[in-house]
Symmetry: C2
């Protein structure tokens, strides 16, 4: 590649940036098809009830109504779910949370459909709900599903924790709580579906996984998957919230039953009430250290409230448990995790996927241990940091690309330079500095996970890359283009990446789990290398030499000084294009069901964050003044994309730490952005410092690995540690609202 402008490593604007800035990007709701009708969902107001009957005639007779559909109208299977299919598309007998879908009205206008919802009469037999996960674990608790309320139980067993605790100089024990939060993507759920005149249905959706949309719509409608075609439209954020195709199924159901195109779009309140959230956790931890700050044992019990349906609950919980020791080596571990059903809004995938909760808990205890030992928190972390010889929670040794200690070194330098600011708090304010660390396995916890790419090199030296994962704003399109361009020695702007058509792109699984760069990036690299090798082979035949003697440079094959233009090569062979398909499957092994030991991922990424906060003694309000991040990316394919990911991830983490909380009475009670408080630009520090360490991952594409969720994972942990540092009291519950911190600052005096 000597003398060639490299593609990998260059900061390049995202492929979708220009269209979004100019308002040219087309979202689902920009789509309007001739004869299109609108669907609205009737949702239960009761958290637990039996449906005795649904009287639809009033709604059917409303002006503009085209169809009223209930469970019995579903032609195929009336169930959804990424792991188990426990969620009905429309409830047939039971409703399990206030927000559960009961009926679907299709009308000429959205207003007409909404008006008709009020005319639907559902006769419910009210059942006792269970709203709290700990209560749900009690023997007499009402069952949300047949089979009891424990949806899953995951165990980690290593060494002998009792022995560890016996040898300990310090043991700290805590119960910590995290809250239910909302993804708060700018674009709520939406889908358009149209009957296909050749039979079948076409769906346009806002989605993180179009091939799953296809699969679920096919199951629901009783169609072959080949007769369902899903086009992802520009997707205004996902964060794990657009992995299960509810709106898609509703739109497709209407299209199938009425023969007309249909749009279903959630308004914000519906999205807040009905869509899944981040799991709230109750976490009991007991952590032991020797007198030198070597961790000896961890005992932990995590209870995750998965709400009314499992969704990704099992995997989220598994992710938490397989990261229970964080980025540290702890020789003895006994940990139990439970995902528990309740009659609350379901919880599922969300950026971080169980790691932010686990990091908040463990990092809190790390600071306690450090405090008890009189050690600097970063020093304690260094003494226990994973390296290329020590095993992760699941016993996996990472033979390379573990730059955690280097990241701690950089963080320590930055902490040193920030410390003087701690002394400059204005009157009535307190300042604190906190560190948060985390690691994460890259890719879904399900093994094997895989991506497939098709790379096609055209006669004119331009390239098309087809992949089934989608770019939902995270920047994968430009990065895949960079990988292909680097592999084929062409400029990035000659590469086009296409991902949004299930009929013609291979299933690359979901855009989630920080997996796309590593898995799809590898698939693209492998396919591009196949293309390159084929071009060199053909050229070698022409030049009567070995392919190894040849080098590909932009538009030509060079042998020393001499070259052969690719255009000539294509012309000579009357080739139209050279196309190759490649699949990448990381080396993994299943997790043992008794010990949780195994190899769930091909690689791990690390994060170290520093937060400097200021707490107002009068209001309890916390401001993040400085925020510094140190990220392990293996190799930065596109530094600009990394920066964007860190900015967004930290902002989301700040909301999680300080203000966001879905509140439930029977149903979500703060279903608006006026009462559900996501941070605004005023709540985010003016600069989020982005530093990343490049320690190439040998199995990654050009050394890269995923890291995206690492930008959110330790944020609440770092801020909680900073707040605790500021106020001198441990924070044990998120979010750290003004009220809660005020209470910690001003504890009720014993009377």
């Amino acid at each position: 590649m000597d003398g060639i402008q490299r593609s990998v490593g260059r900061p390049m604007p995202r492929a979708d940036a220009r269209a979004k800035v100019l308002g040219q990007a087309r979202y689902v709701d920009d789509l309007s098809l001739p004869g299109m009708i609108y669907g609205k969902v009737l949702r239960s107001a009761h958290p637990h009830a039996r449906i005795r009957s649904i009287e639809t005639s009033g709604a059917r007779n409303c002006p503009g109504v085209v169809a009223v559909l209930t469970a019995r109208d579903i032609p195929g299977e009336n169930s959804l779910g990424p792991i188990i299919k426990d969620q009905p598309i429309l409830c047939g007998d039971l409703v399990r949370y206030a927000g559960d879908a009961v009926a679907l009205v299709a009308a000429e206008t959205e207003e007409a459909a909404e008006a008709a919802l009020a005319r639907l009469e559902v006769d419910y037999e009210l059942l006792t709900p269970v709203m709290d996960p700990l209560a749900a674990l009690e023997r007499e608790a009402p069952s949300v599903h047949a089979g009891g309320n424990v949806a899953t139980h995951f165990k980690v067993r290593r060494g002998d924790v009792e022995e560890g605790f016996r040898q300990a100089a310090v043991v700290v024990e805590k119960r910590l709580f995290t809250q239910r939060v909302e993804h708060a993507y700018l674009e709520p759920e939406a889908a358009v579906a149209a009957p296909d005149p050749e039979g079948g249905v076409t769906v346009w959706s806002s989605t993180q996984y179009p091939h799953r949309d296809r699969e679920e719509v096919a199951r629901m409608s009783g169609l072959a998957q080949s007769r369902v075609r899903v086009h992802q439209m520009t997707t205004g954020g996902g964060f794990g919230g657009k992995l299960t195709p509810h709106a898609q199924c509703y739109a497709a159901l209407i299209a199938c039953k009425t023969g007309r195109p249909a749009k279903v779009r959630y308004h914000r309140d519906e999205s807040l009430i009905a869509s899944h959230k981040r799991h709230p956790y109750v976490m009991n931890l007991k952590l032991a250290s020797d007198k030198d700050g070597r961790l000896l044992a961890l005992e932990a019990t995590y209870v995750a409230d998965t709400g009314a349906y499992l969704l990704e609950g099992r995997s989220v919980l598994t992710k938490s448990m397989t990261h229970v020791a964080g980025p540290y080596y702890i020789p003895n571990i006994k940990a139990d995790g439970y995902a528990v059903y309740t009659n609350t809004v379901p919880c599922g995938a969300m950026r971080g996927y169980g790691v932010p909760q686990a990091a908040f808990a463990l990092e809190s205890l790390m600071d306690e241990v450090a405090g008890r030992l009189g050690l600097d928190p970063i020093e304690l972390r260094r003494r226990n940091a994973l390296d290329t010889t020590l095993p992760t929670t699941t016993g996996q040794i990472l033979p390379a690309s573990v730059p955690f200690k280097e990241m701690l070194r950089r963080a320590e330098l930055r902490a040193k330079s920030l410390r003087p600011l701690l002394q400059q708090a204005p009157k009535g304010k307190r300042r604190g500095l906190g560190v948060g660390c985390s690691t994460r396995s890259i890719g879904s916890i399900r093994t094997p996970s895989r991506s497939t790419a098709v790379v096609s090199f055209q006669r004119d030296g331009s390239v098309t890359v087809a992949c089934g994962h989608v770019d939902i704003g995270q920047g994968s399109d430009i990065m895949m283009a960079q990988v292909a361009a680097e592999s084929l020695a062409i400029p990035v702007d000659r590469v086009r990446v296409i991902t949004n058509d299930t009929a013609l792109t291979p299933d690359c699984e979901s855009t989630s789990a920080s997996r796309v760069t590593y898995l799809s990036g590898n698939a693209v690299r492998l396919a591009a290398e196949k293309v390159r090798n084929r071009l060199l082979e053909l050229a070698a035949q022409e030049l009567r030499c070995l392919p190894e003697e040849l080098k590909l440079v932009d538009g030509a094959v060079l042998r020393g000084e001499h070259g052969l233009k690719l255009a000539e090569l294509f012309s000579k062979h009357t080739l139209h294009n050279v196309t190759a398909v490649a699949e990448f499957i990381p080396e993994t092994s299943p997790l043992d069901s008794e010990t949780g030991q195994g190899r769930p991922a091909g690689t791990y990424s690390f994060s170290v964050h520093l937060a400097l906060v200021e707490v107002d003694e009068g209001s309890g309000q916390t401001r993040v003044l400085k925020y510094a991040t140190f990220s392990d990316v293996g190799r930065a394919i596109n530094p600009l994309v990394i920066e964007g990911q860190v900015h967004g991830g930290v902002a989301m983490g700040i909301g999680y730490a300080l203000t966001e909380e879905i509140k439930m009475t029977d149903e979500v009670s703060n279903a608006s952005f006026a009462t559900y408080l996501i941070p605004t630009s005023f709540d985010i520090p003016g600069e989020i410092e982005v530093d990343f360490v490049e320690d190439p991952e040998p199995t990654g594409p050009f050394g890269a690995k995923g890291f995206a969720e690492g930008s959110t994972d330790p944020v609440a942990a770092a801020i909680a540690n900073a707040v605790s540092d500021a106020i001198g009291v441990r924070v044990e519950r998120l979010p750290m609202t003004g009220e809660r911190i005020y209470e910690l600052l001003h504890p009720p005096q014993p009377s």
Copy 2:
């Protein structure tokens, strides 16, 4: 496949039939994009002129006009053409026919664009045109292009024709003329183009070759091919007329220059004036036979008028010349073909591609020879019929699937049963019976030709086939589905065939040359077999046996009585789909430039047609009373599609034989369907008899070969022979209008 409902061989409705019948099919003109503007082309009224200047300000100032574009606005290369790029997209200096494009107006409405055309002032220096191909060959003729008017000269040389003529018992010699005709697709040319916010342009087009559209639009606009994406819309006929993307380039040029979506659609008169036609031929032939009716020698000179631009002229002429001996063995051949430029509307590809002209000529002489020898015309043909031992015009021996003699046998039987009708002509009418025979090489004359298919088998046992050729109404989608279904032992309705997206389907070359069934069908079969083999391999691993012991049946792999469901197999391997790519390249060799000998195709198809006509002595009008076809299809993948193809092909042939003729003064003078007479249902016999012979082609998919154009090839020949039989005078010129036949019936008496 025992016990399984076979897919190949079943009559099944075309995939597009339902949508077309219900009016749901979406043509380019059904597409309307927000902010879309309209383009209209200013065309020269002069057949030959130099452009001194174009004054655009008047047009620019017309209300609603967005842009006025001329040659200098083209960002890339200002040329088009499938073989050589001799046609400007907008003429820069010379116009070469009345209809040549000079400027392009884009406006808010089509009417505004049309109004502005009248305000464009072009200063022309008129040049002498050459309007006749024989005149164009003269030394002093004006040159249409630099380099003289002979665009191509193709030679066939075999044996010693002089010796053949010396040994002959009978020699007949004739000059025959065929006319210029129009494809007359129901949908005229149309394209929509939109700028892509990521850079580049998306084109929706009515096309027979979307990948060529992509290539030409990319060249014109200076974009990488990967930045141009072409979607074929439902295409309302092509017949060779939609192979060169004129409207696509105009729409794309407007989109590139204005940043707005643009539609360009030809009205019927514009289509008739500007678009290419079937080449008119002047053919001199001399054919010799011994006394037993064994053909001894053929000498031929064909002059094809390719008009102002070559388009496919070289290939069409080559096709004629490589079929100069038709389906017969003639030991000595000397044939010269010339494609000649004139200042007339260009000629290019059209269903039959040079064979209908050649068949009309040769079959006329065959009847003359038969008459001179007193032999039945069918008998003469049988005595010279190609079989698996005798070489074609180019010296190729077809080792299998040459059922020509069987077809003649069937035709003879039918002729026998028709003959009594000859005696039943009403008063003032004369009846005649004629036979026409032809053969054709399957696939484009360019070698090697190729098709590539991607077949993807989904978890649920449904299949997607991606191919780059398009279905323009001929039924390839259903046939490709049948091939895939047969290969994978699944029902046809579980297969979806997608062809209309250049970004995601492999370039399969054009839908033309009767090539899709044979080339793409083979590619689909090969890819499906790869998928099948992979499934059997995976199953063999599970079942611990050899893949050879296993059999695929719908949704399962069977080993004797025992089975493994594919769903289980996919689940076990966490597979999403099994995908394979395959390319098919028929075995061919180039044609020798001195002798025309070589192997231009993997297989040939044969046609035998019988026409029974009635000529009105008073008006000279001819009616086709009975029409019987015998087609060689190798193996009928879908008899219904074959029937449809024959019906359409024969109807088109009847128009060619009897009524259709593009007339030229300076420009096309009958540019309307009121004066250009295509046959209506009243002109077509109530029943077109369809018989086909299945003699499987070993290299074809399940034995199939292409045959489509064979339904048109011999129609004019058969009808001309029938008319000659009826009136007792040889017809030497097409079309056989009432006026011409009247003149032959009532020749001017020498005064």
